[in-house]
Symmetry: C2
Subunit: 343 residues, 2 copies
DNA sequence: CTGAAAGCGCTTACAG
DNA sequence: CTGAAAGCGCTTACAG
């Protein structure tokens, strides 16, 4: 049915070896033959059979992306960054998302075995033991936003700490004497880093102010509950920094219901810069993460790891900088973006 | 390096043929041997080499998704639906997005050649001529949201017409005597269908009312401009139906700046139900599309086409129903969801 | 029920 | 510079 290398060879009156060499740019072929073969291949619409090629070259020209159960903007931005970088490297992208637990993640990882030259992994279910059990050592991998330590694996993280530190500083600079925090899930790596950023910035710039942390779970409702509690409390904070935007949105609703004006009575800030952030009233000051850049960088690191398997992974995991985006909810005088520098 | 079928065969003291049969569930093998082989394969962590298998079976167990340059929620929801359905069918998912023009789309399509058993295609750049030139007839494909007619290709569409028709009817039912429309890009298939739904509902339920259509491009700014024009016009419409939510959001801003109260002075509705819709003030009445369902259905149709290549495609392209989601901006008495029935 | 052998479509030493 | 041949790791008629 489909046209194979033999058809091209017959038509060009050469051996299949010559066709292979001509089409793969081997120097051991005259320009004239190369031209002739190329034009015949084009006329026949010859496409090399990728499975046959993979079988012999041990390369699939494909990378896999393992992602957790997911919603919204973050995912599409990440994939977009990965996809763009993959195309420019000539790599295909196999995705597997929507695995809600460790077993599903393991199954997905194994299912990709042999179909990809390397893996991009973003999953809360993945730790060192998981990788040892499910990822062959020979398969290069880059982990995104992972707490994993050690030189075993290549890790690429968002600078959650730096972003939270900068935001806390911004709120204090804007003149809000006390800043409270709404934390995320306890076992969540991003949430932990953001809380640490808040705490350390408070210690550095407002050592006498009380550190107040409400518990949340990244969901809108948990932000709402925290907001209600803050609104009622005797010593209401002058500013609230939520560990993500969805909680900030919930908190905003609670403040509105309590008759508190934002930012006049209480300032508010979030983290992530989801699209909703600019459309709530007042618009939400938040920390922007260049997610597509994260995807692109991750893919490029992976491509390097695939090309140079022996390369040692040295030093700390690189961090992707975040930007404080000042909108109306934080009540500062300034407005705009500033890149969060690490402390 | 990697363990192959020969390693399993040697360990089990059988031929590779028997290992293949045992692992693939051929009936021509005793249960006892099957058990023994299976346990040895598991112990050795044997994973069949997918390229080798593809080479002989002519199947890749992979489907490709070709998507245009994209942002936001729609894409992630669609991929989620496709991915879930693919996993349950045992299929892998290769994605290619971010191609901004016809040439890039063609390159992406050809690059997937031979790597997939079928294709899911959503692209404004794809028409009949494009497919004839770039998609081999033997490759099953399902087109999403395409204006393509004829029995050549399998098409799956969102019922834009029915949704717009139902929304227009809802606005009229809510007591708004005149409903204006903000259209999308002229060459956009979704936009055309939505406008048709508006026009036909107006003709059916408010035959004496004026049909007013402002031009837009699906961008927030174009909705803003239309909103300003409506606000100023002598016979201001009582309700505005924007062909998508982003334009409705822009229109809402224009109304707010003009001192018009929504919905008291003018009602407003959009289309898509993007996440922002529920967070603007007032919350936006809109048409909800179950995008994940679209992805799931498309994949299931594709899987069927792959399994039964000869099957004839008969009748009209199936439609995915939409729901009118009533929120505050339309000012009706009722609130909630109703599935849009086709007229 | 089991095995030996052919063959899927490529690439790449090895000769010449 | 070019070709004949081996081989990548599987599956599947074909014998037995």
């Amino acid at each position: 049915m489909a046209v194979t290398i033999r058809d091209v060879a017959r038509e060009a009156r050469v051996s299949v070896a010559s066709v292979s060499r001509a089409l793969n740019g081997s120097p051991a072929v005259t320009d004239e033959t190369r031209q002739r073969i190329a034009s015949i291949a084009a006329r026949l619409r010859y496409v090399p059979h990728s499975a046959a090629r993979s079988l012999i070259t041990k390369r699939t020209q494909t990378v896999g992306a393992l992602l957790p159960d997911l919603y919204g903007e973050f995912f599409s931005e990440l994939i977009r960054g990965i996809d763009l970088a993959a195309r420019s490297k000539g790599l295909h992208l196999l995705v597997s998302s929507s695995h809600g637990d460790t077993n599903e993640a393991a199954a997905a990882l194994r299912a990709m075995q042999g179909r990809v030259d390397g893996m991009l992994i973003l999953s809360p279910h993945v730790d060192a033991a998981f990788l040892r059990a499910n990822l062959p050592e020979a398969v290069p991998a880059v982990l995104l936003n992972s707490a994993l330590k050690g030189a075993q694996h290549d890790v690429l993280n968002i600078d959650n700490y730096g972003g939270a530190y900068a935001m806390t500083r911004h709120l204090l600079d804007a003149g809000h004497a006390s800043v409270a925090f709404i934390g995320g899930p306890e076992d969540n790596f991003d949430a932990q880093q953001r809380e640490r950023g808040y705490r350390e910035a408070m210690a550095a710039f407002a050592p006498k102010a009380a550190v107040k942390v409400a518990t949340g779970d990244f969901g809108e409702e948990s932000g709402y509950r925290a907001g209600r509690a803050f609104a009622k409390s005797a010593d209401r904070p002058r500013a609230v920094f939520a560990a993500n935007d969805m909680m900030a949105v919930g908190c905003l609703r609670a403040f509105a219901e309590s008759g508190l004006r934002v930012p006049d009575d209480v300032a508010l800030a979030g983290f992530d810069d989801i699209p909703i952030a600019r459309y709530v009233t007042p618009s939400l000051t938040t920390v922007h993460v260049r997610i597509a850049d994260l995807g692109r960088s991750a893919l490029e690191r992976l491509a390097t790891a695939i090309e140079k398997p022996g390369r040692a992974l040295h030093g700390a995991a690189p961090m992707l900088a975040c930007e404080v985006v000042v909108r109306a909810s934080s009540g500062g005088k300034t407005s705009g973006r500033t890149t969060a520098k690490r402390a």
